[in-house]
């Protein structure tokens, strides 16, 4: 049943992208393809959110900032003024750094609250996010920086080195994002259904006392969850920030966190494949709404001239519709 839903959604998405994406000149084609590729980043952050939610039943508002931090680490490692290291080394430094920060936060902040009410832990993740933003602003100032993508979009000769998809030039970075998301989705799904450690994490989230009784260390599970979440956030940051063109403090929280949350809710807050699908669907919906706001007219004026921010409005509409019509999400179970 659930796999049928997944297959249906994926097939419908591919169909829509083919129909709309390959269409006429003034059709929504570039928007849709870009939207789905953006959605891959949402899906990646949503995976981290779902992971923490499965493990601790709390929304992790610090998930976006793991990404911004990773982008800052990467920037300072590879920038010729500071580190001047090769790109892969920079990525390794960024991932390790964020992993260590995630572990430290788990040990110092989350661990003492292991039996605290969920509201407390939720507020704690908010404080963690804002603390990281504050440190970023103090340390790096609020000025925008430019982080180059993994594979330079412009080669030495000055030609744009992009891949053609449906008459649309796509940066290789976006395709890498889609690939990484798919890989992580499969990996985590396998981990939670087939390995002992994955099952132990799930057990902890359901009843931490009973888990302790059968000899599973709750602390170890908590450490594992936050380390993996930090890593997922870092990967999303490294993939996304080069695409926006500006690395500023809190960039991931401002641009990605909210669509990612909506994607996670749409997929069902506890479903990893749901997070994957939800993120991509959100990217698609945003793209269509952006196109519609520019193309459709009310009383001679485009919609975007009357009410700006159609992308954000679309997210709110999706969230409200999901919570009203199917609160458990597309693939989630009733809780």
């Amino acid at each position: 049943m659930r796999s049928a839903i997944v297959t249906g959604i994926v097939a419908a998405l591919i169909g829509l992208v083919l129909v709309l994406g390959g269409g006429a000149e003034n059709g929504p084609n570039p928007f849709v393809t870009l939207g789905v590729l953006n959605g891959a980043i949402y899906g990646l952050v949503a995976l981290g959110l779902v992971l923490v939610y499965k493990g601790t039943r709390v929304f992790n508002f610090a998930q976006g900032e793991f990404g911004t931090l990773a982008a800052f680490f990467l920037f300072f490692s590879i920038d010729s003024e500071y580190g001047g290291l090769p790109y892969p080394v920079g990525i390794a430094i960024a991932l390790t750094g964020v992993l260590l920060i995630g572990l430290a936060m788990e040990r110092v902040i989350i661990r003492p609250l292991i039996n605290a009410p969920r509201v407390t832990v939720l507020v704690t993740t908010i404080a963690m996010a804002l603390f990281l933003v504050g440190v970023e602003i103090l340390a790096f100032k609020a000025e925008p920086r430019s982080l180059s993508p993994m594979i330079q979009a412009i080669d030495q000769a000055g030609d744009v080195n992009t891949i053609q998809i449906f008459d649309l030039a796509v940066e290789p970075q976006r395709l890498i994002g889609l690939g990484v998301l798919a890989a992580f989705g499969v990996l985590l799904a396998f981990f939670f259904s087939r390995t002992d450690l994955g099952l132990a994490v799930l057990a902890t989230s359901q009843d931490s006392f009973a888990t302790r009784v059968v000899g599973i260390g709750v602390e170890r599970m908590s450490r594992f969850i936050w380390a993996t979440a930090a890593l997922l956030g870092a990967v999303a940051g490294i993939l996304y920030v080069p695409l926006t063109g500006a690395l500023t403090p809190a960039v991931m929280t401002q641009n990605i966190l909210i669509p990612a949350f909506t994607g996670a809710v749409l997929g069902g807050m506890t479903s990893l494949p749901g997070a994957f699908v939800g993120g991509v669907v959100i990217g698609f919906v945003q793209a269509v709404s952006l196109w519609a706001a520019g193309a459709w007219r009310v009383g001679g004026r485009a919609i975007q001239e009357i009410v700006p921010g159609s992308e954000q409005l679309a997210i709110l509409v999706v969230l409200l519709v999901v919570l009203l019509a199917r609160p458990q999400g597309l693939l989630g179970r009733e809780t």
């Binding site: 939720l122 804002l130 954000q312």
Partner: protein
């Protein structure tokens, strides 16, 4: 008549020795003296600080508004910048564009806040869990990127003028007005929690199942709580608009909403006095740095930082410390004083009064060592 939500007063309140008449006179006298000092300072201080105090009072109202959601209903709102901001724009809109009086603008802003919070709450309560935080988060996102950019309502980036009412045009008089409204909100909050509504809201927070089995409407009281919070936020928004006299959307960012949540945590969830004190501290902190000469020198010259940026680190750090080590917040720390005002004996460790949450880690280790030594 006995109703479902009627709770008998706790045993200690009936048997507790009450202060003598002179004791009550002393308590009321000190309270009046404190209020008089605050109002006198606000009325006589230089205009720059009167303006800052007005902001502090508005932050106090915002803190109390979030306290209703966080402390009483046990949910989290991350969209208070949207409630406050939308009400600020609406108030300015009605005064400037529609030619209404300040008081009409204030009333409509308050109603708008209550209505939007209630509607979002109704959707959020469809599913168990802390989904109000997600819905308000997204609503705030939409407000910042869409509603605050609607040219007809906000005049784009230039801002919407919001003139002060004629009787309260100076900084001092407007600050006094803000403090009067803070007092009003405090009084409403206090009375609400003393009556059936307050007991029902707290019962629902404690256990939804038990509350429901006593015929307390879980959804109804939660939505009511959100609406009260929205109304307070709307009132604060209107005051915010007319204090600044021009409303610009940059004043209401997501960061503000987070800071507001954290200041309530620092104040102590559900603790009126603590929340107001912490909120005022958060409002004044960037300016307090300027008061202490060596500190200002250190922050601006040595570190090369803006004190306002410092709030973003100090605030969350304070909140984290509060959550982990002192879950009761400011309210818990000042409880000997507030308990004295309520008619108990002044005592740092009143009988049967144990600090909330886990004991301090170091204290636990010490106790363990002492016990082993015996």
């Amino acid at each position: 008549m006995t109703t479902a939500t009627e709770v008998l007063s706790p045993a200690d309140a009936r048997t507790r020795p009450q202060p003598s008449t002179r004791g009550w006179i002393a308590r009321i006298g000190v309270m009046i003296l404190l209020a008089a000092i605050v109002l006198w300072r606000v009325a006589t201080i230089e205009p720059f600080w009167a303006d800052r105090f007005a902001l502090a009072a508005i932050y106090g109202i915002i803190g109390l508004s979030l306290n209703v959601v966080l402390g009483y209903t046990g949910q989290v709102s991350l969209g208070h910048h949207a409630f406050v901001g939308l009400s600020a724009f609406l108030s300015a809109f009605f005064v400037t564009e529609k030619g209404q009086s300040f008081w009409i603008g204030l009333l409509l802003a308050t109603l708008a806040g209550a209505l939007s919070a209630g509607l979002l709450g109704l959707v959020a309560l469809r599913i168990r869990g802390l989904y109000l935080s997600l819905i308000t988060l997204t609503y705030g996102f939409v407000a910042v990127n869409s509603i605050f950019d609607i040219p007809a309502l906000t005049r784009g980036g230039a801002g919407m003028p919001a003139p002060r009412p004629s009787g309260f045009a100076t900084e001092h008089k407007f600050a006094l007005l803000c403090f009067l409204f803070l007092g009003l909100v405090l009084w409403i909050d206090w009375r609400m929690m003393k009556t059936k509504v307050g007991r029902a809201v707290l019962a629902v927070k404690q256990s939804e199942a038990v509350a429901a089995s006593y015929a307390v409407s879980v959804t109804g009281y939660k939505v009511l709580g959100f609406m009260v919070s929205g109304a307070f936020a709307g009132l604060a928004g209107s005051l915010f608009a007319h204090r600044a006299t021009t409303v610009v959307s940059a004043d209401f960012s997501f960061r503000e909403a987070l800071i507001w949540v954290l200041m309530v945590v620092v104040g102590g969830l559900g603790n009126r006095t603590g929340v107001v004190i912490a909120s005022m501290f958060f409002a004044l902190f960037p300016f307090l740095v300027g008061l202490v000469n060596p500190l200002e020198h250190f922050v601006i010259d040595t570190m090369g930082k803006d004190p306002e940026e410092l709030t973003l680190v100090i605030g969350p750090a304070l909140a984290l410390l509060t959550i982990i080590l002192y879950p009761g917040g400011v309210g818990e720390q000042i409880s000997p004083i507030t308990r004295w005002f309520r008619g108990e004996k002044f005592s740092l460790h009143p009988d049967g009064h144990k600090p909330k949450g886990k004991p301090h880690r170091a204290a636990a280790v010490l106790r363990h060592l002492v016990r082993r030594g015996r």
